[in-house]
Amino acid sequence: MTNQRAPHQREPSAHEVFEVLARDHADHLLVFLRAVVRDRSMVDDVFQETMMVAWRRLADFDRTRSFGAWLRGIGSRVAMDFAGRRRMIVADPTMLQEIEEHSVAFDGDHAQAFQTRMGTLDDCIERLPTDYSQMIQMVYRAELPLRTIAVNLALTEEAVKKRIQRARALLGECLQRKGVLA
């Protein structure tokens, strides 16, 4: 048995390799950048720029390492640079490191792993008490303003914020139990 390619099999071009890697890791990169940046208007630009830097530096990528981790490393630097230009603070080095640790735990070798882990998130949402799952739906699915939610539920905005945070904390605990969060 030999690893030699048959004559009719051509080597994939760098562009083709990059497209496969970019598609496989795009979701996870976007999650990571959202955690780091949070400013929605900036996330799109940081994502695009991260991918472009990755393309330009593709030859530097060490294939023995995780492409996702390499991509997130670029993303961190791009995010810090963008934030610096806008005189914003996105995350300090400790925060970046801890977000990266969660990302590593969530990481997989290919896109299917990401979708599998998102399925785990679905399971965890389903297990939330009704008040909390309702809150997740209103905030993230319906994207209702906090004020609207507060009025509808006869709560103060502060109470709404606390309930959302509690819902996320419960989700975090669930994901940790299932081994997909650090």
């Binding site: 562009h15 979701d27 990571f32 949070r38 929605r40 630009d45 969660h102 993230y140």
Partner: protein, 378 residues
């Protein structure tokens, strides 16, 4: 305290990394679809493709294609200041894909000479239909006019005496578009514009008067000197000769660039990358210049310009290279003797302003019928 930033998630994740990560997961789950992710990736791949084609494009567009490059680059890169990038890209791509006759007035202001005299500006009119159909009329001092065009298949030049040359390759550039290191100024600018978001701080300027027309969006791009920005700028020439400031007036309704002006740093000032002086890193590392066929001939002389006489450069300046002797050694073919008028370097500024839209005749970009020479020696 409530979040007052409309762009920031209202979910108010706190500063615990785990909370931020879960917040990001939830946002991703509920806002992203297969289609939206495909759109993101496709945008990246288009940009990659565009970058791959850059050298080919510059080589084939000639320097008068700069405004096209500017329109495309700025439309794609500058606008995401107020709305989502994907929405802007959609609208900008729409604009960029239009093949509409356009005309720009071009004003190139040379640098002040060493004796303190300000050379007169060089004026030109640029007519554009698309990336393959362009025509520029350059008005030099003294009434000399040069017309160059590209009709999709050939490049041509109408000489001052009325004769014309036609070629299926790029014709030489006017000397004043060269930078001190011998590269093409407009090549630098085109590459610079394509990398605009890598190297420049791009901000909206709330100065309604600046663009001279109510309702135009003013964008200012200042060259920034961060290590990352410089590292991300793939083109060496961009790092060496960046415009220090670019002002743009954009019609927010159409995403069209109405006016664009680039300002370059003084000759004797520090470069934004902190370097001065001639190239010290050996020969060009980015391969031959676009249209590489136009290097100096073997005898070391440039050869006469297409109009048959050399004459002074447009601003009349002569003398030694402003940046010292050629860093890459003498020209092929031996010593050249006293320098007889080196490249002028970047100008003070160059501006492009769109005139009222007009349609050109169908043969406006076609080579003149009286072309007397086909494919002159390169």
């Amino acid at each position: 305290m409530m979040n007052t930033n409309p762009n920031q998630s209202e979910s108010n994740s706190n500063d615990a990394p785990e909370d931020r990560f879960v917040d990001a997961l939830l946002t991703h789950k509920f806002t992203e679809t297969t289609e939206s992710m495909d759109a993101r990736i496709n945008r990246v791949l288009r940009a990659v493709e565009s970058q791959n084609n850059r050298n080919y494009s510059i080589q084939n567009w000639q320097w008068w294609a700069l405004p096209i490059a500017a329109l495309l680059a700025i439309s794609l890169l500058v606008m995401p200041t107020t709305s989502s990038a994907s929405a802007v890209v959609r609208s900008a791509a729409k604009v960029a894909s239009k093949n509409v006759d356009r005309q720009y007035q071009v004003v190139l202001m040379p640098k002040v000479r060493r004796d303190g005299e300000q050379p007169p500006p060089i004026l030109a009119t640029l007519d554009v239909r698309d990336s393959q159909h362009m025509r520029i009329t350059i008005h030099y001092q003294g009434g000399r006019t040069e017309i160059r065009g590209r009709d999709g298949e050939t490049s041509w030049e109408q000489r001052p005496d009325g004769s014309a040359v036609i070629a299926d390759h790029d014709l030489p550039w006017p000397r004043w578009v060269e930078t001190p290191d011998g590269s093409l100024l407009v090549d630098s600018m085109a590459a610079m514009l394509e990398d605009l978001d890598d190297s420049y701080d791009i901000v909206r300027v709330d100065d309604a008067e600046a663009c001279g027309q109510t309702g135009l969006l003013q964008i200012r791009a200042n060259f920034q000197n961060s290590e990352l920005a410089l590292a991300n700028t793939p083109n060496e020439k961009v790092r060496r000769n960046p415009a220090e400031r670019i002002e743009m007036c954009i019609d927010p309704k159409t995403n069209e660039v109405i006016r664009l002006e680039m300002f370059f740093p003084p000759n004797d000032g520090p470069r934004p990358d902190g370097q001065r002086g001639p190239r010290t890193d050996g020969p060009r590392t980015d391969g031959p210049r676009p249209g590489g066929e136009r290097g100096p001939p073997p005898d070391g002389e440039r050869g006469p310009p297409p109009d048959g006489h050399r004459g002074p450069p447009p601003d009349g300046e002569r003398g030694p290279r402003p940046d010292g002797p050629r860093p890459d050694g003498p020209r092929a073919g031996g010593e050249r003797g006293p320098h007889r008028g080196g490249p002028l370097g970047p100008p003070q500024s160059i501006s492009f302003e769109r005139t009222d839209t007009k349609s050109f005749p169908s043969n406006w970009f076609t080579a003149p019928a009286n072309a007397v020479e086909v494919n002159p020696p390169q």
